[in-house]
C-alpha cells in the first residue's frame, strides 16, 4: 500500500496542515541530524587521542593505532566466530519455521525464538559466566587433547572456560533471533508458484528448498548475516563480563589469554578513565562506530537493491 499520490489539484493550505506537516518533517530531519551529531561529537571528543603520547595509554602501546589494533582484531574475530556458528543454525531454524513446522504452530515457534531477543544482554553475561563457561570447560579440555595440533585449538586450555569461544557462543545465541527472523521473512516470500512448480516436477521437500527457496533467498541471507554481524560487533556486556582481557592478537580460541573487543574495553575502563584516557576510549568507540556503520550500510544496500522481492526490512 502506498500513501495517496499527489494529484494535480492542490488542496487549500490550512494553518493546521502547514504546522502538522512541518512538525513531521522536522522530526524526520531530526533523525538525520542526530546521526550526524553522533559522528560529529565522537570525532570532536576523540581528536586529542590521535596525538596522545605513549604515557597516556594503558599497556605497551606507543600511539593510538598500536593501542586500537588488538581491540579491532578482537572485535572482528569474536563477531566472526559468532557469525560462523549463528548463520547455519539460523537458516535451519528459519527453514524449520517457514517450511517444515505445521502452519498453525509456525507463528508460535517464531515467537519462542523472538523471546531470545528479549533477554537483556547483562543477563546473558551472567549466564555465560556462571552456567556456560563451567559447562563447556571439560569439553574444551578434550578438544585441546585431541585436536591440539590444529592452531585454533592449541593449548594450554583455560581452566575456567572463560575464553573467546565461550563469548562467541553467547554472542551467537544473541544474534540468532534477528538473523532467524530476517531469514524467515525472506523464505516466506518465495513465490508459491516456484515452490509448487518444483514439487510438481517430483522434487522432495529438500530439493524444492534447494531449487526454489535458497536461490531466491540468497541476497536476503547475506544481508541478514551482515546485520547479525553488526549486532555482534557492538555487543558489550557479554564480552566485558566473560573475558579477562589482555591486549594480544591470537587466533587460539581455548586459552586463558584472549583478545578483548572495543566495546568491552570501553565498558571496563570508562568508569575509572580521566583526562585524555576518556578521549582515547571515545576514539576507540569512533572506530567501532565506523566499522558497524560500514557493515550495516552494505547490508542495507543489498536489501535496498533487492527490495522488490525481499522483505528483509
Amino acid at each position: 500500500m502506498t500513501p495517496p499520490e499527489a494529484s494535480t489539484i492542490t488542496a487549500k493550505q490550512r494553518p493546521g496542515d502547514r504546522i502538522f506537516s512541518t512538525a513531521t518533517l522536522v522530526a524526520g530531519v531530526l533523525i538525520l541530524v542526530t546521526l550526524a551529531a553522533v559522528a560529529i561529537f565522537l570525532v570532536a571528543q576523540s581528536l586529542p587521542a590521535f596525538t596522545a603520547v605513549a604515557d597516556d595509554f594503558k599497556g605497551d602501546a606507543e600511539n593510538f593505532w598500536q593501542y586500537v589494533w588488538p581491540l579491532v582484531f578482537g572485535t572482528i574475530w569474536a563477531a566472526a566466530l559468532a557469525l560462523i556458528m549463528a548463520v547455519p543454525l539460523s537458516i535451519g531454524i528459519a527453514l524449520f519455521i517457514s517450511h517444515y513446522a505445521p502452519r498453525r504452530l509456525a507463528q508460535g515457534l517464531g515467537y519462542i525464538i523472538d523471546l531470545l531477543a528479549a533477554v537483556p544482554s547483562v543477563v546473558f553475561g551472567l549466564w555465560g559466566i556462571t552456567v556456560l563457561a563451567p559447562a563447556v570447560q571439560p569439553f574444551y579440555t578434550t578438544l585441546t587433547e585431541w585436536f591440539g595440533w590444529f592452531p585454533l585449538f592449541a593449548g594450554p586450555v583455560s581452566g575456567t572456560g572463560r575464553t573467546i569461544l565461550t563469548v562467541a557462543v553467547v554472542l551467537a545465541v544473541m544474534i540468532l533471533p534477528i538473523v532467524t527472523a530476517l531469514c524467515r521473512e525472506i523464505f516466506l516470500q518465495t513465490p508459491v508458484l516456484h515452490e509448487e512448480a518444483a514439487l510438481a516436477l517430483g522434487a522432495t521437500r529438500w530439493e524444492m528448498i534447494k531449487l526454489a527457496v535458497l536461490p531466491f533467498g540468497r541476497p536476503g541471507i547475506i544481508s541478514a548475516s551482515m546485520l547479525g554481524l553488526g549486532r555482534a560487533l557492538g555487543e558489550t556486556m557479554v564480552v566485558a563480563m566473560v573475558l579477562s582481557p589482555s591486549a594480544i592478537i591470537s587466533f587460539a580460541v581455548l586459552q586463558s589469554q584472549n583478545p578483548t573487543t572495543i566495546a568491552a574495553n570501553i565498558a571496563l575502563n570508562f568508569p575509572e578513565a580521566h583526562d585524555i584516557g576518556v578521549n582515547i576510549l571515545i576514539a576507540t568507540g569512533l572506530m567501532l562506530f565506523t566499522i558497524t556503520l560500514a557493515v550495516n550500510m552494505v547490508a542495507r544496500y543489498i536489501v535496498e537493491r533487492r527490495k522488490e522481492f525481499s522483505g528483509a526490512n
Binding site: S21, V38, E207, L233, A263, I266, A267
Partner: protein, 368 residues
Amino acid sequence: MSLTATPPQAPVTQNGISNSLTAGKLPRYASIYVLVGALAASSAVFGLVAVSSGELFNIAGAVFCGVVLYTASIWLISRLVEGSRKAADRFVTALVATAFTIALLPLISVAFTTIVNGLPRFDAAFFTESMRNVVGAGGGALHAIMGTLLITGMAALISVPVGLLTAIYLVEYGRGKLKHGITFFVDVMTGIPSIVAGLFAFALFALVTDDPGVRMGFGGAVALSVLMIPVVVRSSEEMLKLVPNDLREASYALGVPKWLTILKVVLPTSIAGIITGIMIAVARVIGETAPLLIIAGFTTSMNYNLFADRMMTLPVFVYTQYMNQGTDSQAYIDRAWAGALTLILIVALLNVVARIIAKAFSPKTGRR
C-alpha cells in the same frame, strides 16, 4: 536396535496385491519410532556407563548421542528403502528440527538459572531498600528500579513523539530523496552499537556542561532514545501502512483537512499496533547496560533528579553487583541474580501486555 523399526518393504493389501502407491515408502510414523529407538539405545549405553563408573547419568550426552544416532539411522534406513533422494530429504528434516531444538536450549537454561538463582533474594527488602551504606548481605535495588523507570520513561518521552512524527512523515507526506534518505538512515541507526550511543551522550553533555566527568540520568535517556527512535519509527511505519487508503479517501471526500484525517482517522485505526510497537521498543532499551554505565554511572543511593549526579539503573546494578563483589561474595551474586530476574520479569510483562493490546484492539484489516 533401531533396525527393529524397519517395516516390510511393500505393504500388501487384503487381496494380496502389493499397493504400488505405498511401495518403497517408510510407514507414516517410521521417523518417530526410529527417534524413540535411537534415544533408548543411547540412554541404555549411557546408563551402563553411569552404572559401571558410578558417576551421574549424563542426560545431555545421552540426548546428544541419541539425536546423532537418529539422524544417521533415519538416513540409512530411508536410503535402503526409499532411495537416496528421499534419504537426503529425511536427513535435512532431522537437521532442521535439531537446529530448532538447539536454539531452545539456551532459552530454557537462561530462564531456569535466572529463576533458581534469583529467587533467594527476590524478597520485600529487595524492592524497598537501596544499597546505601550496605556492605555484605541485605540491601535492595529500589534505587536501581527507580532509576530505570525514570530514565526509560524519559527516553520514551523523547522517542515516541519524534519516532511517531517521523513515521507519519514517511507514510503520509514524504516523497523523493529525503524520504529515501530518512528510511535508509533509520535502518542504519538500528545498527548503532549501544555503547556508541552512550559515548555520544557523554560527548554531547561533556561539551554542553563543560564537565569532563559528567554523569547524569538525562544523558542516559538521550542515549536510550538514540537506540529507541529507529525501532519506534519502523514499527509505527508498518502500522500506518496497514491503514486502508479507502479510509483516507473517504475522509478527504468529506472535506476533512489532511492533518485532521491523520489525527482522527489514520492514528485511531492503527493506535493498537503503534502502542504495541512502542512497548516492544521500551522492552528492548530497558535492558541496555552499556550506555547507562557510561553516562548515568553507578551509585548506591536514591536519586530522583534526572539532571544531576549519578543514577543507578537495574542492568547496571546487576553488572556492578557481579563485577565488584565484596568479601561476602554470595550476597552480591544473589543480588545480581535477583536483579536479573526482576529485569526479565519487567521485559516479559511489557512484551505480554504489548501482545495482548495487539490482539485485543487490532483493526480488522490487521495482519493476524
